[in-house]
Amino acid sequence: MSEVVLDKVMSAPAAGPTGATEAPVRKPERHRPHTLSILVLICGLLVTAGLCTVSRLNYLHSEQRQVNVQVELTADALAAAPVDVQRRIGRPALLAAATGQLSLATAEMSKSVPDTFVGARIFRIDNGAPTLVSSLGGALLLGVDSAQSTQLLKSAIASSTLAVTRIATATAQNFGYAFASSIAGRTYVAYAESTLPGNRRLILPSNSLLSNLNFAVYFGKDKTPANLIETNVDHLPLHGTVGQAPIPFGDQVLTAVISPRSPLLGTFAASVAWIILGAGILLTLIMTVLTERLVRRRAVAEQLATVTGQLYETERGVAEILQTSLLPQYLPRPPGLEIAIRYLAGTEGINVGGDWYDVISLNDGRMFFTIGDVSGRGLSAATMMSRLRHTITAYAMEGHDPAIVLTKLSGLVDLGRDGHFATLICGTIDLDNGIATFANAGHPPLVLVSRERGAPVAIPVGPPVGVGKQYTVTTLALSRGDVLLAYTDGLIERRGQSVEAGIRALCLAAHQTPDLEALLDTVLTVMSPQGAADDTAVLGLRWNP
């Protein structure tokens, strides 16, 4: 009998501790970033760049529209100047043509000289030929008989608008304006010049529209330095968001170009893209660092899980050794009684259960056996099991019958104090005549395997020890070869199945065979408590004198 027990003791540690030492803990690599982190970094930067670009383009588009609106407003404002010029030149021409009185025209023209114009001339046109009839102010750049003058006068006569020309000499530049008026056969042309500042930095009349703008105004459509007539910056062309618009100027056109000094949509709108860029890069870096840390932690956690698993196996092994050592190391081998035991640890948790069995010789030709189960698990259940086992031995050796043993035992267990109760069956077998006596404290019934199948032995069931104290002794006369099976509930207890059904299945599984060990093997195979959550102990006794 002892071999079975020792076998269990020897085999238990083999699986545990050796397995734990084989896989050393691998240190995670320190310096190389994980692929996932790099991926996060790249994705983060791409998204940031995308958002930044979209934001920037959107901003530039909006800003451009604002500038376009602004340049239109500016052009409208600047267009007032030519209208003023036309009025100042047009009136003298009109007066001369309408009245033929040159003095009226000259007086009208003199209002604008020399404040607006450097000087002015009035021509009378006879059959297309101009004759200078009046001259005001200082020297004018345009020669009276020059080709440019003749051309300008022709343009003025041909059109009803102000004719404009630019007169450039080596040292100065002037604008020349001519306006023709023809009434009742009299045709007069008024001509005037205004100067252009040499540095071309004439400040236009203070205008809130222009105060925040860099601008340049060109004569004609070509934005060449030679055509520049006015600007408020030192260096051209203008930079940043640039807008341009034509300004009608008599029969010519000016081109206004503007660029805001500060963003029209505000500095915040202008910086949104850069804020996105900065925040995006920062977030990406944080995410990358976090990812790297998470990945590393997971690696460490996986290693810890492996180690924990190994420790669990080790613990389990140790717990099994402990429990096995609390169970009888040697069972007696009396003549006339075969004894076989099986003990299977449950799968649930690493804590040992409180199942036990014992067989002792009473020195009067009788054997005393016990099968029991302390409720709960863990060290306290195991030690209480050990205490009960030895106490039963003492009472049994004093010669008490099984019911008295249980009553006395129950007085020593306090569910409130110990936190456990125990179910057990104890009994005696007389080796000479096969008379057996039993008492049951809340335990699943013994199964008697007499001929073919097993059958439960009807014993009055008392409460578990630690709960009640009333027990009854039952006597049974065994026949030669009869087998008594005692077991703990792990053998018959199944989820979704009643205790009764489990006992019926056990009775069907318990075939009578000449070999008691084979009988136990069959029972365990059929009932298959290998996967059972609870511990399982089975004690087989065959009376065979």
């Binding site: 698990r377 109760f421 008392g462 709960v467 009640g468 979704g496 199945q497 205790v499």
Partner: protein, 104 residues
């Protein structure tokens, strides 16, 4: 009140019309879930009459019995309500019919 839950088990505490507290146990009451049942029990301190509704228990083992026996020891006047065959068999098999009586 908030039920005490674990994977395959939960416990509820309610009251009968006459005010008697009722501990409802559902699912599997075993070593893994016994502590949950104990927690639910703590919300109705003894001594008191207590009905334990075990009709929804699909499984109970000795750890479950320990919860009920422990409650009785702490001064609860226990009655089991509507025991299923599984519970009835377990109570009978462990000789606890008089100690853990069924509700009449």
């Amino acid at each position: 009140m908030e039920p005490v839950r674990s994977a395959a088990f939960n416990a509820t505490v309610g009251r009968d019309p006459d005010g008697t507290p009722v501990l409802g146990l559902h699912g599997e009451l075993d070593i893994a879930t016994a502590a949950s049942a104990g927690l639910a029990l703590d919300t109705v301190p003894p001594p008191t009459k207590l009905v334990v509704d075990v009709s929804e228990l699909s499984f109970m083992d000795s750890s479950g019995l320990a919860v009920l026996l422990g409650a009785r020891n702490r001064g609860y006047d226990l009655r089991l309500r509507r025991p299923s065959t599984i519970v009835r068999d377990l109570i009978a098999a462990t000789g606890l019919n008089e100690i853990l009586p069924f509700e009449s």
